[in-house]
């Protein structure tokens, strides 16, 4: 296990909470979840900010991470419950608000980068173990025996020698008087004795979900609340010149309409016009009458067609930055047995959370309260404080379950909108984005262009790899996921390798989109590796295993001089051993090498990201008319030694497969005259049940590595595995996303 130790100061702060802290209770009022703060210490035992055990033995576990569908509200409380030794049926999970009390032992309240499990697994075990040890100590004290003679099991402490036992509820009064154990003395369970972790546990909100109870940000109702919409300039960076505000204010149900000046930050508070009304529909209806004169600024000419032409032109010149240069690529290409040249491209796409962005805000003087379906409430707190010019501590954030994250809700623009509108309106407001707002004012996954050249030797190995990546930047900085890491595979595995990168400057807001960078680079690189395998006349799976080599850890050579103090740490070595393990497993489970008729094919791809080693095998059928059916997808995943919630893990794998297909097969945003031309799901389709694979298999290879997250790493290798299978079926290589822009007919 990892050797995380408990910081003494954090520990004392936690211990100090026992019995005296500010606690949050959760109640239902008028059918709406209302959070109420109470300075009264609740009765019971609160060894730390994450646990409360009542005298009746009921156990509350506080979930501090935003829940966006990744299942963390179930998973982390399970980790704590395992160590606390309680029956899961005794446990009530209570969502926590943004609160510094939870940011201990390296944890935070952001849900992104598949970081929640790897950064919280060990600390949550420690929180649970601390509680268990104090309850055992309480029993030992009551019985006047040594704690070492007592054992906790399913919410009961037993003294085996005398046969005495006591439920946790009976022990809380004494436990609350005991000192918390020192960090070094917290004893974790042997993972072999785990009873809950690794089993299939249903999500803690399932019953509320299936009965339609208020649960999501958009369901928030606070007393005196009004409903608002916010119109932004369709051209990114545009500003409001004027609007027919008087006419709008006179419409039925409209309370107010005003201009928000906003800032130049395209991912911050963007300029626009707000309408505040008595209902969502009154606000939506009034907006149809809204006429705004915009100053569209200097980016009103940008277009996807223009970007594509510009990329082709840039590719004829040396790249702006040489990201990495190993060996002599030019010489290796000139002596290669075969050379493959290919251009790969993919468009900007949207996150398309099914719950449109929304936030409810209340501003009183310099105090702000937000109800936000956010993945990163602390960044929202910061942005709102900055926009309103108030201290961060004055911004209280309730973290509400979100209808999908995928990285969109790591941004805080929707929280800034709501706070600025509520301040101006003088009443609490819920700002609801329309689908069109959501699609057109996303922080998009950047599009990109890769100009690749690769050579293979006569004996079927990669002789050289050359890539010129044309990406997108705002103000000179590549968008999130718009920069290649110099260690991105197959870097470090090839003697002759180079990657150059050139940004196109634009004003399109970009943000993290599920497995940023990896979500597209894997498609490009694993497709191109497949091209090289076929050029070499090799079996694509065998070719990959040979590329991965026979070493387990593959690192860059040590730098000649010691790294500068305070500089970034050297990149972690690539664990080729773990990757070979999942590649072999995927091949085995898929039945790799099956003889299939033309029109059917198998494909394989792998990718490392977010600490996870993943291989995907796919089987597809392409009819003569080019219609595609993905018959079967097999995922082989190495995310460490322990799966927390098997059901949740399998769900993430299945969802990543469908999402990977949906994004690559269908999703495509066009840009003309500086604006997104699509508006809703009629012009921006997502994958429907009819095209979802009939079979998705999840296989977990448990290895002796710390448990890591599953929200992202399965996504990247899905599209290339399917494209490689399409090539096997038809001989057609997809080099442009989405699939629908390719002609897959064959005869």
């Amino acid at each position: 296990m990892s050797t995380l130790t408990m910081d003494r100061r954090s520990f004392l702060r936690l211990s100090g909470l026992t019995g005296t802290g500010l606690f949050l209770s959760f109640s239902l009022k008028n059918g709406t979840e209302v959070f109420a703060a109470s300075a009264q210490a609740p009765t019971g035992f609160t060894p730390n900010a994450f646990i409360r055990i009542a005298p009746d033995g009921s156990v509350s576990i506080y979930s501090h991470k935003p829940e966006v569908g990744q299942g963390i509200r179930t998973a982390l409380p399970m980790v704590l419950a395992e160590e606390l030794e309680v029956d899961w049926k005794q446990v009530t999970v209570i969502p926590g608000d943004l609160d510094p009390a939870y940011s201990i032992l390296g944890m935070n309240q952001s849900a992104g980068g598949s970081n929640s499990t790897p950064t919280s697994y060990d600390p949550m075990r420690r929180m649970g173990a601390m509680g268990r040890m104090m309850l055992v100590a309480a029993a030992a004290k009551n019985w006047n025996v040594s704690a070492s003679e007592c054992v906790a099991e399913a919410g009961v402490v037993h003294h085996k020698a005398s046969g005495r036992k006591a439920g946790y509820g009976e022990l809380v009064a004494v436990a609350a008087t005991l000192p918390a154990p020192e960090a070094k003395d917290v004893v974790l369970k042997d993972p072999k004795s785990f009873k809950l972790l690794g089993t299939r546990v249903g999500g803690v909100d399932n019953q509320k979900i299936v009965t339609g109870q208020p649960l999501y940000g958009i369901d928030t109702v606070v007393p005196g609340m009004k409903y608002a919409v916010y119109e932004k300039c369709p051209v990114f960076g545009g500003k409001v010149v004027s609007a027919n505000l008087d006419q709008i204010k006179a419409l039925p149900g409209v309370r107010d309409a005003f201009i928000i000046e906003g800032t130049d930050n395209v991912t911050g508070l963007v300029p626009g016009v707000a309408i505040v009304a008595d209902s969502t529909w009154a606000a939506f209806s009034a907006r149809k009458q809204l006429r705004v004169t915009w100053d569209e600024g200097k980016f009103a000419n940008q277009s996807w067609a223009g970007f594509a032409a510009q990329a082709k032109e840039l590719a004829t010149k040396p790249g702006a930055t040489m990201l990495r240069k190993d060996g002599d690529v030019a010489a290796a290409l000139s002596s290669a047995a075969k050379v493959v040249t290919a251009e790969y491209s993919y468009p900007f796409i949207s996150h398309a959370n099914l719950e449109p962005q929304n936030c409810t805000a209340k501003v009183e003087g310099d105090q702000v309260e937000l109800w936000a379906p956010s993945q990163n409430p602390a960044s929202g707190q910061n942005l709102v404080a900055q926009v309103l010019g108030i201290p961060r501590e004055n911004v209280k954030v309730h973290i509400i379950r979100a209808g999908g994250g995928f990285g969109r809700r790591l941004s805080a623009d929707f929280m800034a909108d709501a706070a600025a509108i509520a301040k101006r309106a003088g009443v609490p407001v819920k700002v609801t984005w329309t689908r069109e707002d959501d699609l057109q004012h996303d922080h998009f996954r950047p599009g990109g262009f890769h100009f690749l050249k690769g050579g293979v030797t006569a004996d079927g190995k990669i002789a050289a790899w050359q890539n010129h990546f044309v990406t997108f930047a705002v103000g000179g900085r590549p968008g999130s996921g718009g920069g290649i890491n110099p260690t991105e595979f197959p870097a470090r595995f090839l003697a002759n390798y180079q990657t150059e990168q050139t940004p196109i400057d634009c004003n399109i807001p970009m943000g993290p989109w599920r497995a940023p960078g990896s979500c597209v680079f894997s498609w490009v690189f694993q497709s191109f590796i497949d091209e090289l395998a076929h050029a070499a006349g090799k079996d694509p799976l065998q070719f990959r295993l040979e590329l991965l080599g026979d070493k387990d850890l593959v690192a860059d050579p040590a730098p000649a001089s010691a790294p500068a103090a305070g500089g970034p740490p050297p990149p972690a070595p690539y664990n080729a051993g773990r990757m070979r393990g999942v590649v072999k497993l995927a091949g085995e489970k898929l039945g790799w090498g099956k003889k299939l008729p033309k029109g059917q094919g198998q494909g394989i791809a792998f990718h490392f990201s977010h600490r996870g080693y993943i291989a995907i095998g796919a089987e597809v059928t392409v009819a003569n008319d080019g219609s595609l059916k993905v018959d079967r997808v097999v995922a082989a995943c190495d995310v460490g030694s322990q799966i927390v919630n098997l059901s949740g893990a399998e769900n993430q794998v299945e969802g990543s497969v469908v999402d990977g297909l949906s994004a690559a097969w269908l999703q495509d945003l066009n840009i003309e005259n500086g604006r997104i031309t699509q508006g809703n799901f009629d012009s921006y389709p997502l994958l429907r049940i009819t095209d979802a694979p009939a079979v998705i298999e999840s296989h977990f290879l448990l290895t002796d590595n710390p448990p890591s997250g599953l929200g992202e790493p399965v996504f990247p290798p899905v599209a290339p595995a399917v494209c490689n299978a399409i090539f096997a079926a038809t001989g057609k290589r997809i080099r442009t996303l989405p699939f629908t822009s390719n002609d897959l007919r064959w005869s």
Partner: protein, 155 residues
């Protein structure tokens, strides 16, 4: 305008504009927020309710035309949240974010009411109008099949 509606077996009077979609009457006026807003264009199915037992997109249904019809929302699908689909959705841990699932269940409930033992193709056909952004389609299919099996006469 005042309208008297039959929602989940209760008579409810609302005072809203005639073109207000039932979606917003349910959510903003009647505080029945289980019916979800996803697109406002009948494309995603998150707002599906039953109108006389038929699944309909409440975002496309003006309140003025809903008068006199028997409207059922997810909150009224079963008295105790124990419709076979609600059970299999929990047992099978179908949801990820869960936002679309009320609409999925309403569409599936109407399917099973008219076709108690649907084939995979019939399930796909009936459910094709309901988007799940998280991609839980394999579990949705399974949840429907298990609910159908619960209702099937035992041999």
């Amino acid at each position: 305008m005042k309208y008297t509606l039959n929602v989940n077996g209760q008579s409810r009077t609302v005072d809203v504009a005639p073109d207000t979609p039932m979606l917003w009457v349910l959510r903003d006026t009647l505080n029945l927020t289980g019916t979800k807003f996803g697109c406002g264009l009948g494309q995603c199915g998150a707002c599906t309710i039953h109108v006389g037992g038929v699944p309909m997109r409440s975002c496309m249904l003006p309140v003025s035309t809903a008068v006199g019809m028997k409207l059922t929302t997810i909150e009224g699908l079963s008295p105790n949240g124990d419709h076979p689909l609600q059970k299999t959705w929990c047992d099978g841990d179908v949801a990820q974010c869960g936002y679309c699932q009320a609409g999925q269940i309403m569409t599936a409930a109407a399917l099973l009411a008219s076709n108690p033992q649907p084939s995979d193709e019939e399930i796909n056909g009936a459910m094709a109008g309901n988007l799940c952004r998280c991609g839980t389609y394999t579990r949705i299919r399974e949840g429907i099949k298990r609910a159908a099996a619960m209702a099937a006469p035992t041999a």
